[in-house]
Amino acid sequence: MKRNNDRIQKSETRKESLIDSLRLPKDICMGAMKITLTGNREAWIENYRGILEYTECQILLQGRTCQVCFEGSRLSIDYYTNEDMKISGCISCVKYI
């Protein structure tokens, strides 16, 4: 198991260095989620797959490689499209699972 993990890590680093040297945008090539936070009030999220869970104090998003969890209070989704979404409310924690 540990060996397998190591292998994945190695291939990731190799991919990253390749993308770095080719100067390609990382968020698109690696399928990473792009999160822009404005203070703790607003968050713009791009490059996600969908919502897994949405309550007033927790929003769980599915990305391509990982899941991201926003915790806080009075969370609401201002808009939600295929490309991006905006979360507003009082964000207290952003967690990668």
């Binding site: 969908g50 897994l52 949405y54 609401s76 989704i77 201002d78 808009y79 295929n82």
Partner: protein, 407 residues
């Protein structure tokens, strides 16, 4: 801007309830349906969805097993049918737009600028003669012809420009500042200068003609001062012929002048009783409407105030609101006090003196008295003045006998 577009296209507020609202949202975003203002309320979600998106969510709803309830409808697609149901409103709207379109075909205001000598009234009547008036159709107005007509009618206008600004006709003119040179009728020269008054010649400077008087001479009214008949002598000092000229000279005559003025002992003054009545009226173009009213007072005067509401002025509609205020008064007779009478008479005297001054008359001696008569105040003034004189008169023409002259 985005809000406006959303409003134009229409959107709904819906409540999603059921097994997996998150899945519903993900499917919506995959299909490219915009969702916004998503708020969780208990176990349900409330969100806004575009009208177009709403028609496409039926398969998603079936797939996810959720229930959709419409809470509210927003936007023009919902508002318009409601509006169209109100027939009178729609009719009013169409009529208003129609009225607006039709009224913009006419001229509602004429403004004239740049006129100093020509009064507005004169110009207005000129325009009326040329069939240019308020309420005429815009397309019947030939602006170039009007400009030509203005220049033809008023020779003192050197430049005229007319233009239409919306429903307003702006006429801009420029008048000639220099006085117009009047063509003097051609006359055969030959005029004398004669005395206007009885008096004594104080100074005489002759530019053309033959002087007949000298400084210090006493003349009577009508005496020839400078003759416009210049004799040309033969060698033997007989007159060969006369050359006729227009006599021209500066002659100052000293003469006595008199000024009298009278002022009645009493005068009537309006004394307002303070009682006022006012009526209001509406004026459209040349016609006005007011509530009928009897003679308000026995003796009264009226003050008319007319104003145009700001909105109507912007729209250039010739509509006015007016008020006529009738003020009652009584005619009361007053006696002039001595100070008042003197002030009035002195004013008259001052006016007379100013008039003399304008004519270039110098006053040498002055003797003024104010007296109270039986029925009036009287001012008598004796003056000794020096005044430029010289009235033109046709000179006497003498035919010189040629043979006699030759002899």
């Amino acid at each position: 801007m985005i809000k406006f577009l959303k409003y134009m296209k229409g959107y709904l507020r819906v409540r999603i309830q059921g097994f997996s609202p998150e899945r519903f949202m993900n499917l919506c975003s995959n299909k490219g349906i915009l969702l916004w203002d998503i708020v969780r309320e208990g176990d349900a979600y409330c969100m806004n969805i575009t009208l177009k998106g709403f028609w496409e969510i039926r398969p998603i709803v079936k797939k996810t097993g959720t229930r959709v309830a419409i809470l509210e409808r927003y936007g023009l697609p919902f508002f318009l049918p409601k509006l169209l149901k109100r027939k009178m409103f729609v009719a009013g709207l169409i009529l208003a737009v129609g009225f607006w379109l039709v009224s913009s075909l006419f001229i509602w205001d004429i403004r004239l600028t740049g006129n100093y000598q020509i009064t507005d009234d004169v110009f207005r009547s000129f325009l009326e003669e040329n069939q240019v008036k308020i309420g005429m159709r815009r397309d019947t107005l030939d602006i170039e012809e009007l400009e030509k007509q203005i220049r033809r009618q008023f020779p003192q206008i050197t430049w005229a420009s007319a233009r239409l600004d919306g429903v307003r006709l702006l006429i801009d003119i420029k008048e000639n500042d220099a006085p117009i040179q009047e063509q003097k009728p051609q006359t055969i020269p030959g005029t004398d200068l004669v005395a206007d008054y009885n008096g004594r010649v104080v100074s005489i400077i002759v530019r053309s003609g033959v002087p007949k008087v000298a400084i210090g001479d006493t003349v009577e009214k009508g005496t020839i001062l400078v003759e416009g008949k210049v004799p040309v002598y033969n060698e033997d000092t007989t007159v060969r012929e006369y050359r006729y000229v227009d006599a021209d000279a500066d002659i100052i005559l000293e003469h006595a002048a008199e000024f009298t003025a009278e002022l009645p002992l009493t005068h009537t003054e309006k004394r307002y009783t303070g009682r006022e009545k006012s009526i209001h009226y509406i004026k459209l173009g040349d016609r006005s409407w007011a509530l009928p009213q009897n003679r308000p007072f026995l003796v009264y005067d009226a003050v008319i105030r007319e104003s145009r509401p700001l909105m109507l002025e912007r729209l250039d509609l010739p509509a006015f609101l007016g008020t006529v205020t009738y003020r009652e008064y009584q005619n009361t007779e007053y006696l002039y006090t001595e100070e008042e009478a003197k002030a009035h008479l002195n004013q008259k005297l001052m006016d007379f003196l100013a008039e003399l001054d304008e004519k270039g008359v110098q006053i040498i001696e002055k003797d003024v008295r104010i007296e109270k008569g039986t029925d009036a105040w009287a001012l008598t003034g004796q003056f000794l003045v020096q005044e430029p004189v010289g009235e033109r008169a046709e000179t006497e023409r003498i035919e010189v006998n040629e043979t006699e002259a030759d002899g």
